[in-house]
Symmetry: C2
Subunit: 280 residues, 2 copies
């Protein structure tokens, strides 16, 4: 596995792969890799000639009160995991190279970003869309892989590639979960043992919501209420949202029909956790 | 010369050129071509293996009160001009394909776009940056050519390619002028004979400003005043701005030293005209 730190070098590798007819699969990450990331890399390996993974903790997608400074890092461990998952090129750009001047150029997506995570984390998706566009211009992938755990992010990136005609196929793979259902996330490392045990309630709440829908409930408010009640069976859970939404627009649903996504965000101690479940 | 109407087809041509090691020079235009556009195409021909020109009158860069509906068009004439200037592929995307849904994804540039044209035409540069990004993702050029007549646009696009790491070299070529100094522009076709004669005052005002600087004047306000006085020697000129600015930031200069750009925008009858002069 080759490690690349330099943007120009990354672009020149990408060009040479494309020139030689090789397809590039790309897995952008913020590092502290877990099984969810590795599942993206393995799938990218199956579908492409070359797999590029990037690790970059992007400052512009964190709010001023958020966890940028304490975001977990483990470069050595990550390298080993990437190599074992079949990554050919690990791209580790520095913040100084990514943002050599104060950012003044932004990719923004309207509509889909003003609800849920976007409402609670203003500027977050603008930071994500901008850095993903920059990374796409560096790595020049044919396919890019994202985890469904960040459901709204996936919708934003799909909308973005379509709106800007980025010649990249966006592939979203299922959330990988711990045995008790907790969605894998780098931020789970913030949880102490007691919080970790309680965190499984997110998935239980999603399943309870799904069960109501499968049982024929057609009132979104009943489903929201059920998810909230389930979440509050554990102590110390503060709910940011427990929503029933349209999977394409992320708008709250007023009636249940067609495709539905259940989305939850909570704070547990100092940790913020999100999860979601598609109900088809 | 091959004509391409379809985005996917354009991307697939672009990919095949890149695969075969051919460089792509790109001249994006809004059509109604004049000698300024043709100079870009000829230069692109000299510097690249393949020249792609596009014609697309981009609705999102026009304000609601602007001249979108009457913007001049001459597809037949333009085709002949492109062919004669060495264009290999003429890309004519339709509005329906460029914007299949109401635009919700935008590229915006802060700072440099809130003065001059950006102040008078809110949203204009967001429309330009977004459509140029889209076109770059379709044509995948190695080099893109723009005319200095749209000085602020060139600065915006340079800033954009840098900020988004677009792997495109932006090349700006000198303004092509009529015998009396009027900068070539598709919008000159709006002028009647009398207005056309008076329009030459823009260049005279720029030269008058330059002359003051060359004579040692160091007060920007004196230069602005001189340009305004010169413009007002012709009847019916309404000045939007006559500015002395930093060529990189487009900010008004408070003292004259280093590189300077003089920029003028006026309305003459129903026609809006802009011009500029770099003083090095």
């Amino acid at each position: 596995m080759k490690v690349i730190n330099n943007i120009r070098e990354m672009q020149s590798f990408a060009e040479s792969f494309r020139k030689s007819g090789k397809t590039i699969g790309f897995v952008p990450t913020m590092g502290f890799l877990h099984e969810g990331h590795l599942s993206l890399m393995r799938q990218a390996k199956k579908e492409n000639d070359v797999v590029v993974a990037s690790i970059f903790v992007n400052p512009t997608q964190f709010g001023p009160q958020e966890d940028l400074s304490r975001y977990p890092r483990d470069e050595e461990g990550d390298r080993a995991k990437c190599a074992s998952a079949g990554v050919d090129h690990l791209f580790l750009p520095t913040a100084a190279e990514m943002y050599p001047e104060p950012p003044s150029v932004f990719v923004s997506i309207e509509g889909i970003t003003d609800v849920l995570e976007g409402a609670i984390r203003p500027g977050h998706f603008r930071g994500v869309a901008t850095v993903v566009t920059k990374l796409f211009n560096m790595v020049k992938p044919h396919r890019a892989y994202f985890g469904q755990k960040d459901f709204q992010q996936c919708a934003v990136i799909r909308r973005m590639t379509r709106g800007l005609d980025q010649d990249v196929e966006v592939i979203v793979l299922p959330t990988v979960r711990e045995a008790d259902g907790l969605a894998m996330s780098s931020r789970n490392s913030y949880l102490d043992a007691n919080e970790r045990r309680r965190a499984a309630v997110l998935f239980r709440a999603l399943k309870a919501g799904e069960e109501l829908i499968r049982a024929g409930v057609r009132e979104p408010e009943q489903v929201r209420q059920k998810m909230r009640e389930t979440l509050l069976t554990e102590q110390g859970i503060e709910i940011d949202y427990a929503e029933v939404a349209d999977p394409d627009t992320l708008r709250p649903l007023e009636a249940l029909s067609g495709r539905i996504v259940l989305l939850i965000a909570v704070r547990l101690g100092t940790t913020r956790l999100i999860d979601n479940l598609l109900v088809l």
